[in-house]
């Protein structure tokens, strides 16, 4: 029982820190609220889909920027997609860098795009790690007999 209380406390504190540090926003809360008995893993499933899509897009962006004649229209469309999916799961920091990235695409500024790509990779990597930690803590809590409630 004591470990359940401790795990619950850790989960609440960790989740709060992710919001305070700007990694997540209220869209993530909405995602969690869409979970119920018939869809208990909804948030995990959707976030996993986001990881797959984001990694594919980041690879395509890198390929696009390594080509001699950069197709900025295509790049912009891909960044737009990344912004859309990151915003929909509440990955706020990733979404913000995508806005700047799109501006560089519009200006056809290769160096700006390369810098943005590096930043978005870093932010993606951070939020992925944090979400994986969050979901791991939830699994540990469930395994200990506790229940995961939405923030």
């Amino acid at each position: 029982m004591e470990s359940v209380v401790r795990l619950q406390r850790q989960l609440v504190d960790y989740t709060a820190s992710l919001f305070q540090e700007g990694y997540l926003d209220e869209q993530f809360i909405q995602l969690r609220q869409l979970q119920d008995e018939s869809n208990p893993q909804f948030a995990v499933e959707v976030v996993s889909l986001f990881f797959e899509e984001a990694e594919r897009l980041l690879d395509e962006l890198a390929k696009g920027l390594s080509q001699e004649n950069t197709d900025f229209k295509r790049l912009d469309a891909q960044v737009h997609q990344l912004k859309g999916s990151s915003s929909s799961i509440g990955a706020q920091r990733v979404g913000r860098i995508c806005i700047a990235f799109r501006n560089y695409c519009e200006m056809q500024n290769v160096e700006g795009c390369l810098n943005s790509l590096q930043q978005v990779r870093q932010e993606y990597s951070s939020v992925k790690s944090k979400l994986e930690t969050l979901f791991k803590m939830e699994r540990q809590l469930s395994a200990a007999g506790g229940s995961v409630s939405s923030p």
Binding site: Q27, L34, V46, L49, G84, S87, S88, I89
Partner: protein, 132 residues
């Protein structure tokens, strides 16, 4: 008494989510079910949405993304209206004003929502829809 008024059972709402990104199809589909839409289908682009309708299906509500490959939301909305589709079509776009959004509205949308969609956006919309 008009046909249908004597029937006390209210038909449940149906919706079609049109978006090229699976993450968005999943979230929007779940949001719709959460506000009481009982049957939700999905299409990956405007062409699939049109093909679904050509196949004889119809929906009370269509959530139409703007930016999609093969056929975008503007073309799909125009196409559906030209086919005589009377469903409520709600455009969903992350674009800012002036970036083709006006053209999207003029293609035949009933309303336009920004991305990301929320339960609040959809719950008020759903109360306005009468089943076709």
């Amino acid at each position: 008494m008009e046909e249908g008024e004597s029937c006390s059972a209210r038909r449940e709402l149906t919706a079609l989510v049109v978006d090229d990104q699976e993450v968005l199809r999943r979230i929007h589909g779940r949001l719709l079910k959460d506000v009481g839409v009982s049957h939700v289908e999905a299409a990956r682009n405007g062409k699939e949405a049109i093909d679904i309708h050509r196949g004889g299906q119809s929906f009370d509500l269509i959530l139409m993304d703007l930016d999609m490959p093969v056929m975008n939301g503007i073309q799909a909305t125009r196409g559906l209206r030209a086919m005589g589709v009377r469903s409520k079509i709600a455009g969903v776009s992350a674009r800012n004003e002036g970036e083709g959004v006006k053209e999207f509205q003029e293609a035949g949308l009933d309303l336009l929502f920004p991305k990301p969609l929320t339960t609040l956006h959809l719950s008020s919309l759903v109360t306005q829809i009468k089943p076709l």
